[in-house]
């Protein structure tokens, strides 16, 4: 399984284009913010101390959540490639166990997701630093690494399940493009969730990976929130958190951190099981 997983890793990292495109979403988001969205969002916070740091942290948290999806999407491409190129036929004529095969695919997908997300984290921290912000304190850094692992598991499982329906590289390529385009909106990372119509807000809250964005925001914005709102009334802080999707409101009550974590864990379990089940189905032509 390890040997097979390392083969998948080599295939991914030697394909420079695949690596680049899986990080493209990250670069685009940073680009959009540097060019105009950043000024727009931060502009609303003029007068608030550390407003820039706050908003940079906000967008970078969203970016990390998106990265977990786009990079695993790229990683799972190996599965579709093997199937469409007929390489899977060679696997099926070998005494390789199907469970080893599926395990190897999952292992490499998660590894790629975590590695690329860490690259994303480094870029994000550099961006925050460049904007006059501060690096994450060690405790929060560890929390972010844990979240990267969890969100990669959740996104990876979801993407793995999706990929089991694709038989050609073309179809998968188109699907990846669509997902990469929509995912940012689906997680509410471009525009604060509070300013969106309520139907869209509901869609964002119901999309399980959005909860990864929420958790990333809670950790990344921990310090900047203290800086900016040290003397603000508590009601205003609560309002701000709800409006930016630092906590998700369901009705009158806010979902706790544990609740969001649970959403991710449950998503992982369900889609992991579904994906493995789909992949283990015997292929009878």
């Amino acid at each position: 399984m390890i040997i097979f997983a390392s083969r998948n890793l080599k295939l991914f990292f030697r394909d420079r284009a695949a690596v680049f495109f899986s990080l493209l979403a990250v670069l685009i988001i940073i680009g959009l913010y540097v060019l105009f969205l950043g000024d727009m969002v931060a502009g609303d916070l003029t007068g608030v101390p550390g407003g820039r740091f706050l908003m940079d942290s906000w967008i970078m948290a969203g970016l990390l959540a998106v990265t977990s999806v786009t990079t695993t999407m790229g990683a799972v491409g190996v599965v579709v490639d093997d199937r469409s190129k007929g390489i899977a036929k060679d696997f099926h004529a070998s005494p390789l166990k199907r469970t080893t095969l599926v395990g190897g695919y999952l292992l490499s997908t998660m590894a790629i997701g975590v590695i690329m997300s860490i690259v994303g984290l480094i870029l994000a921290e550099l961006y925050i630093l460049a904007g006059g912000g501060e690096l994450l304190p060690l405790g929060n850094l560890l929390k972010v690494l844990g979240l990267i692992f969890l969100s990669t598991m959740a996104s990876g499982s979801l993407v793995f399940f999706l990929a089991s329906f694709f038989k050609t590289q073309n179809a998968y390529g188109v699907a990846s493009t669509v997902v990469n385009t929509l995912i940012g909106f689906l997680m509410g990372i471009y525009v604060p969730i509070g300013v969106l119509p309520s139907a869209v807000q509901t869609a964002i809250r119901l999309f399980p990976i959005s909860h990864a964005a929420v958790l990333f925001r809670q950790v990344l914005m921990d310090v900047p929130l203290d800086r900016s709102f040290a003397e603000a009334p508590p009601a205003m802080v609560t309002n701000f958190k709800a409006s930016l999707g630092i906590v998700f409101q369901f009705g009158d009550s806010a979902l706790s951190t544990a609740g969001s974590l649970l959403v991710l864990v449950v998503t992982t379990v369900i889609f992991f099981a579904l994906g493995v089940w789909r992949m283990l189905l015997p292929e009878k032509k």
Binding site: I3, F4, G86, K89, A93, S94, K285
Partner: protein, 304 residues
Amino acid sequence: MEKAVEVHGLVKSYGQVQAVRGIDFYVEKGKIFAFLGPNGAGKSTTIEILSTALQADQGRALINGYTLGQEDEKIRSTIGVVFQGHHLDDLLTVKENLLTRGSFYGLRGAKLDQAVRQAARSAQVEEFLQRPYGKLSGGQRRRADIARALVNKPQLLFLDEPTTGLDAQTRRHVWESINQLKEESGVTIFLTTHYMEEAAGADYVIVIDHGMIAAKGTPAELKEEYAQDQLRLWAQDQAALAAQIEEMGLEYQQQADVLTIAIASTLDALPIVERCRDHISGFEVLQGTMDDAFIGITGEEIRP
């Protein structure tokens, strides 16, 4: 005689299309066995079924003594397959490919290294072991494919059109490797081809067409039975020559000033030439080839 493959009543359909329609045959251990047929005859389907990559609709088969469909794991560990097309990873080197695929057979560490080294030597891929598979030439890739199929030291090697798309020299090279394998390791080789002259290099040939067995035998037997020798006469006086041949009670075909007579063996041409020598300016005796035998059996030219 030991049998490496034994097949009874194999049937496989793709929707409405019947790819294989009930074939029976066996393959003797340690021999080169050729499945000859035009494109779309059902050769690849049969190989995919026998190598457990595809499920048959009906029929049963024994591979290396194991029952197909029940002992697939055991079959898989004792066979090597070179499918049509390429099934190694372009971005990995030949060695990395062999190491990965070798691990599928439970080989690890020193045993794996040893297996890879031996497979590389047998298939003669040592000189480009460190190059990425995707950058190799057609012939090199084919040899790498064969090396991959040998990595588990199989008793039975399936080769689906191993030389298709290769130039004449490379084809010969691949064949040398195949013959050498048979000599050195005693592996049974089951190959498909649509090149007649290649089937002639096998110990036993089955001609398959439209999913059924059209003929079988050694290459010599097939030639003997299905290919006809021909005598071609260049007429000096066409009318006189035609009359002379008719007088001898022979059938002929005329094309311009050349008359062609089908004969049982090349030696039969001598008395005819002797009797006609006054009316001809020249003659030619053609021995039947595997091509003729093939066309004699399938009744048509090779389909593209």
